[in-house]
């Protein structure tokens, strides 16, 4: 799994060192994928269970992740990438399907970054409002929901960064 550019450097070493280097590469890829799997699953679960009911002057105000399409996209994208990571970890035929894994890795990275960015945009409006559009921030009414969403977003960012590192490492 050495790129043509690293290949010249790779060939300088003898066969034993080459085997060790390949093994280390496999171990690091495995570790990165496990971290990404954990982060994706945690982000999806934490966002999915964010639920709060607030009562202001006999007005019931209920906040759930399904209220906003971007939060729904965040949960779905992270669960899809989590399932994909699990499948790739358990797959025995990696050397035959390397083309498919490479393509799907890139697509999953795009899914993660786009879902994080979309959820972040809506969460920003929820926290700070948008005076030009007349949208008031809702975080002052539903603290717990806001905190849980923030936590899910942070973990989602970790998942996106780990997948980006995985993609860059397998170049």
């Amino acid at each position: 799994m050495n790129s043509p550019t690293l290949g010249a450097l790779f060939m300088k070493f003898d066969a034993q060192t080459q085997m060790v280097m390949t093994k280390i590469r496999g171990i690091i890829t495995f570790l990165l994928r496990i971290i990404a799997l954990a982060a994706c699953v945690i982000a999806a679960i934490v966002m999915g269970t964010a639920h709060e009911t607030a009562q202001i002057f006999s007005l019931k105000f209920e906040a759930r992740y399904s209220d906003s399409p971007s939060f729904k996209y965040f949960v779905i994208a992270n669960s899809v990438v989590g399932c994909y990571s699990l499948l790739v970890l358990l797959l025995p035929f990696k050397s035959l399907l390397w083309r498919l894994i490479l393509v799907l890795d890139a697509i999953m990275t795009l899914l993660l970054t786009s879902s994080f960015s979309a959820a972040m945009a809506i969460a920003y409006v929820g926290k700070n409002g948008n005076s030009h559009a007349g949208w008031l921030p809702i975080c002052s009414q539903v603290h717990k929901f806001c905190d849980q969403t923030t936590a899910a977003l942070v973990v989602g960012l970790v998942a996106a960064i780990v997948y980006l590192l995985l993609l860059l490492y397998s170049l």
Binding site: R99, M120, N130, L136
Partner: protein, 202 residues
């Protein structure tokens, strides 16, 4: 073993056969120029997006009180991000095209392919983040959110919303084309490596 030096391994840009290089490069140049046009269009349309409208707020006797409101793209951070991300992707595509057309002999210490691939991937992720955030913010402006008491904006500023939607669509097209370019380059790299190594090592 000691004779297997840099020259013998023959990796790097200048080692792939020249006819294969020309054919594959034409496809990549075409896709990159299309992606360049798409992201440039998206950045321009969103960057020049502005609409001013006068609303009648109240009527006092015979005279009516008017309020002039302006919808600019800077009102939403997501739109700013879209403009910046598309500008970055456009600049990156221009640079890569110039490298391809004018800099055929440039081989940064054997690192040319790796540099191009890394830059492609980074710009791909930034562009995807910008496009997605702008798309979902546009959806919020179009449909509002009854749970959070956020009103629709697009029924009052139709031209602004239509231009924003067009810019987002163009950025998605640019993203898809850039993804195709990145995948073609990477697959070709790995194929060349596997052929040179003689085994399909992952």
């Amino acid at each position: 073993m000691a004779s297997l030096g840099v020259e013998k391994a023959g990796f790097g840009y200048n080692s792939i056969g020249s006819s294969v290089r020309e054919r594959k490069m034409l496809v990549i140049v075409l896709l990159r120029s299309l992606s360049l046009l798409a992201t440039l269009a998206a950045a321009l349309v969103m960057g020049l997006n502005k609409e001013t409208k006068t609303f009648v707020v109240a009527t006092v006797g015979t005279s009516s009180i008017k309020v002039t409101l302006t919808a600019k793209f800077q009102d939403t951070p997501a739109n700013i991000f879209l403009v910046v991300a598309c500008a970055l992707a456009t600049f990156h595509n221009i640079l890569m095209l110039a490298l391809e057309i004018f800099g055929k002999k440039l081989d940064a210490n054997g690192n040319r392919f790796m540099l191009i691939s890394i830059l492609d991937i980074i710009n791909l992720t930034v562009l995807s983040a910008g496009a997605a955030s702008s798309a979902f913010m546009g959806e919020l402006a179009k449909n509002g959110n009854t749970h959070a008491q956020w009103n629709k904006v697009c029924d009052k500023f139709e031209k602004f919303c239509n231009h924003g939607a067009g810019a987002t669509l163009a950025s998605f097209i640019g993203l898809a084309l850039l993804l195709a370019v990145t995948l073609i380059t990477n697959l070709r790299l790995r194929q060349a490596t596997n052929n040179a190594n003689g085994n399909a090592s992952v």
